[in-house]
Structure formats: C-alpha cells, structure tokens
C-alpha cells in the first residue's frame, strides 16, 4: 500500500499540475480572506477564522476533484491499471494508497493557512484573543471533509478514463453530498418533520458540529463510514475491470 502511496505522491509533485492546484487554492483563499473587502478578515472586526472555514469547503469542492481526477482515470487511460492489477497487491491496497496520498496532498495545501491563524492571533486585541479550541476543531473537521471528498473523487476517477469527466463527476457528487441534503431538507414537504434527519445525511451538518470545537463520536463515525463506503465502491469498480 505504501509503495502505491509513494508513487502517487511523487506523480503528483513531479508535474506542474500539483503545484498549480495547491497554488490556485492558496491564492483564492488569500484573496477572499485578506483582499476582497466583503469577506476580508481584516474588515470583520472580530478575531476569528470563521470566514476561512466557511469558504474552505467551497474551494475544496474544486481543489480535491482536481487532485483526485487523474489518480485512477489516468491509470485506465494509460493502461497502467492492467499492470497494477497483476502485481501482488490487492485492489484495496491500491485504492487506500491513492486515498491516503490524496488526503496528504489536501493536508499539505491546508498547511500554509496556519499562517492565517498566526496573523489573526497577532492582530487580536488583546493579542491572542481567539478561540483556539474551535479553530483546532475546525481544522479537524476540514481534514475529515477533505477525506470524504477524496474518497468521492477516487470513486469518480475509477468510473472514467477521461480526467475531465472524473473532475466534473467528483465536483457534482461532492456538492450533492455536502450541501444537497441541506437544500433537500428545506423542501416545504419535509419542514418540521424530516428536515433534521435529512440534514444529518449531509456533510455540512457534521462539519459544523465539529467546527464548534466538539469532536463527537457520532460525527467521526459519520465521516469514516461515508469515506469508507465510497472507497469500498471504488474497489468494487476496480474489480469489475477484471471481468
């Protein structure tokens, strides 16, 4: 599994695309949080990073499909998947290796945003006047969110040999799983009856719960089982390539 992980990471960073994806992610976040007046942390007058955690899922919606789109689609396009499947490793090891590589890349993209924490920490009045617990929780939430998006992205990438198709499928699926249930719960039919239950199917509900600084078992179970389910279906798709 770790050899696949290593291969995936080196593949990502040996091309320009990897750096470009992470660079674009940081530029967009930086612009939104420090330059555009409507959303700027500097104009907000409170020492919080709420804006970051509000906006990051939207940016992830594009960043993570960009990371995952090539991982299996390209292997199928180049027919290297055929070779991978004849090596003495299981499809599960292939999928998990690629999954952890994608999560690592997402985490690396997130790493420089710790600078924002430092900035707001220094700007607070008095200095350091911000809720470190909630921010730590939000980072954990963001990582779990990235993990689910990666699992969805890998699944989308296994369905097609075309990277563009994989990207669009992944972005759509991520959007649906993240916000779709929220929108669905607002349909008048469900209000006051099932709306709370439906919301809990979506990522957003659990993400907000963790962002409050409470890392609850229920939310962890949610994140791992949704990611696990998408990874499992990815393995199933790879197995059908043998038929």
């Amino acid at each position: 599994m770790w050899s696949v992980y290593q291969k995936e990471l080196s593949g990502f960073f040996s091309g320009l695309v990897g750096y470009l994806a992470i660079g674009v992610f940081l530029v967009v976040l930086g612009l939104i949080l420090f330059v555009f007046p409507d959303t700027s942390l500097l104009n907000y007058n409170y020492a919080t990073l709420d804006q970051l955690f509000e906006i990051a899922p939207w940016v992830f919606l594009f960043l993570i499909p960009a990371i995952t789109m090539r991982s299996l689609a390209e292997e199928q396009q180049q027919r290297t998947l055929e070779l991978l499947l004849t090596y003495p490793i299981t499809p599960t090891q292939i999928v998990l290796g690629k999954f952890f590589a994608c999560v690592t890349i997402a985490a690396l993209a997130l790493l420089p945003t710790l600078l924002y924490y430092y900035t707001v920490h220094e700007l607070g009045s008095p200095r350091g006047n911000l809720d470190a617990g909630a921010i730590a929780g939000s980072y954990v939430g963001l990582l779990f969110l990235a993990a689910i998006f990666c699992a969805i992205g890998l699944f989308a990438s296994s369905l097609s040999r075309n990277q563009i198709v994989a990207f669009l499928t992944a972005a759509l699926l991520c959007f649906l799983v993240h916000y779709g249930f929220d929108f669905l719960s607002a349909v008048p039919l469900f209000i006051g009856k099932l709306d709370n239950v439906i919301q809990q199917f979506g990522i957003d509900y659990h993400y907000r719960s963790i962002s409050r600084g409470l890392v609850l078992l229920a939310d962890m179970v949610y994140f791992t089982s949704v990611a696990g389910w998408f990874l499992y279906t990815t393995v199933l798709v790879l197995n059908t390539r043998r038929a």
Partner: protein, 304 residues
C-alpha cells in the same frame, strides 16, 4: 514449473474472444502466434491474473490462478501490449517503486542487476517519457523481471523496434528462456523461428496448433516444393510420372513441382531434363516455413 490451461474460455458478451483453449508451457520460450484480434492478449491477460476467464482452469506451477491471489501473481512477470509506463517518472524511481510493490529484498542491488542485465545503464537517470521506444521497451522488461519471476508473459515485446534494438531485445529474451517459462506473443514469423522452441497458433479464439517448431513445417504434408526453370518447353506428364512427384504446376514463370515429404526427387528431375534436352537453368527446393504453416493453418480455419 509449468503453465497449464485447461479448456479456458473468455466471452465478452456474445463474442468468444477465447474459446476452449488448452495447452501446457514449460521452461523455454513458447511462441504465441496469431493474427490481430485472435485472442492472444486476452489469453495472456487471463494467465497474469488481470482478466477473469469465463470458464476453464489456469494454473501456474500447480496453483490455480483464479480466483486471483497475490501469491500466484507474484510468480509472474508481465510485459503488456503497448508497454504501459508512467512517462513523467524517472527510470530509477519507477523501478524502485515497482521493487517495493513486489517486496524485493535489497532492492537497490537488484535494480542494479536488472538494469545491467538488459542494458539500461546509460539511460537509467532519464525520465521515462524522454526515452526512445527501444529503451522504453527495456524499462517495461525490467519492470517484469525485478522480482525474478519464474514465469514471463511478454505480449508483443518487439513490436515497433528498429532492427538493432530488435536483435538486442531478442538476445535478452533468449537468455531468459534458458531458465524461465516464457510465453511470447508476436506476429513476426522470423522471431518465432529465431527464438521459440514451441509454437501455439491461435485464431478467432481457437487454438489451431501446438507443436515443437520443427514439426510445424512437417504438418503441411506435400508442401515441399522443387522449383525449376528450363530453357525450352517441357512435358509435364513425364515429370508427373516420376516417383514421389505429387503435382506439377506450369502456371507461373517457373515450374513448381510439389513433392511428398522426405522424398528426394531432384536427381531424377535433373536426369530427365538432360535426357529430354530441356535445358535446365535452375533448380532449388523450398521447404515450408513457419510462415507457410501459419498462413495455411489460419486460412483453413477461416474456410471452416
């Protein structure tokens, strides 16, 4: 060590890509011949554990290949058709990762060995995408050899190489065939004659021949031909009357005389020509080649 296929079939929908194929291949180089789309690659993919057969049994060294298990796949080295590689990776980096996938102990040393064995030293620090086709083919071969497998499945390993590269790669394969079970698909006849000790011929998914290379030509009884050219018109009936002559064909610019196998008729023909004053200019014998055998066998199957 042996690969055994027993009644193996692979259907894609209604199409029978491989239809009840059975053969055994032991140590040495077995050539796998057939026109494009005959089912060579599909058969090889089933042996490597990539494609699941629709029916039948495949075993390697007595162990069933299906349901596929990593331990059995580890005994096989595979060079697929079109040689898929990661063009953005460096040769050494790629080989190191594949060695790790196989769990090769002392991988650095083993990589050095393989790189030396197949002549990749000069190119080993380059990016795979920058290599010429011949060297890419060597990287593909190195990948298949890293874990020193007992079985090698090489799907058209020499396609698209120039004559020098061809010779070098063949030399490597010949060397490997001394110790390993090598199954090599190709549609180049000279290659089969140069390398293989056994030939399998497959067409439209059916196995049509499974013979040692020497016997394949002999399968075409009556196909040995003596070609003569004479100054003056000859009398076919007198040639036909010679013992051992099956048929005389006067339709071409030369006279083609079909002869039963193992019969030596040339002295009799020469004697007849000089006795009749036909003015014999040239005489040569054409024995059936693998190419003839291949064409005859696959043509028959089309006619059926």
């Amino acid at each position: 060590m042996e690969i055994v296929l027993d009644d193996v079939s692979k259907h894609f929908g209604a199409q029978r890509a491989v239809d009840q194929v059975s053969f055994r291949a032991g140590v040495g180089i077995t050539g796998f011949l057939g026109p494009n789309g005959a089912g060579k690659s599909t058969t090889m993919r089933m042996i490597t554990g990539f494609l699941q057969p629709t029916g039948g049994q495949i075993s390697i060294g007595g162990e069933p290949v299906w349901p596929t298990r990593p331990e059995v796949r580890a005994r096989v080295g595979y060079l697929p058709e079109h040689n898929p590689l990661y063009p953005e990776m460096y040769v050494r980096e790629y080989l190191r990762i594949i060695a790790r996938v196989h769990g090769v102990p002392q991988d650095a040393q083993r990589i050095r060995e393989v790189v030396a064995e197949i002549g990749l030293e000069r190119e080993q620090h380059k990016q795979i995408g920058q290599l010429s086709k011949g060297y890419r083919q060597r990287v593909g071969l190195a990948q298949a050899l890293l874990h020193d497998p007992e079985v090698l499945i090489l799907d058209e390993p020499t396609s698209g190489l120039d004559p020098n590269q061809l010779g070098e790669i063949r030399e490597v394969i010949r060397e490997l065939g001394r110790r390993k079970v090598v199954l090599l698909s190709t549609h180049i006849m000279q290659e089969v004659q140069a390398l293989c000790s056994r030939v399998l011929i497959i067409d439209r998914g059916r196995l049509l021949a499974d013979d040692p290379i020497e016997r394949l030509g002999a399968r075409l009884a009556g196909e040995t031909t003596v070609v003569i050219e004479c100054e003056r018109a000859i009398d076919a009936a007198q040639l036909q009357a010679l013992p051992g002559v099956a048929r005389v064909d006067l339709s071409g610019p030369t006279i083609r005389i079909s002869v039963a196998p193992d019969k030596e008729v040339r002295p009799a023909i020469a004697a007849l020509c000089s006795a009749q004053g036909w003015g014999l200019l040239e005489m040569r014998r054409e024995s059936a080649t693998v190419e003839d055998a291949f064409q005859a066998i696959t043509r028959d199957s089309t006619a059926v």
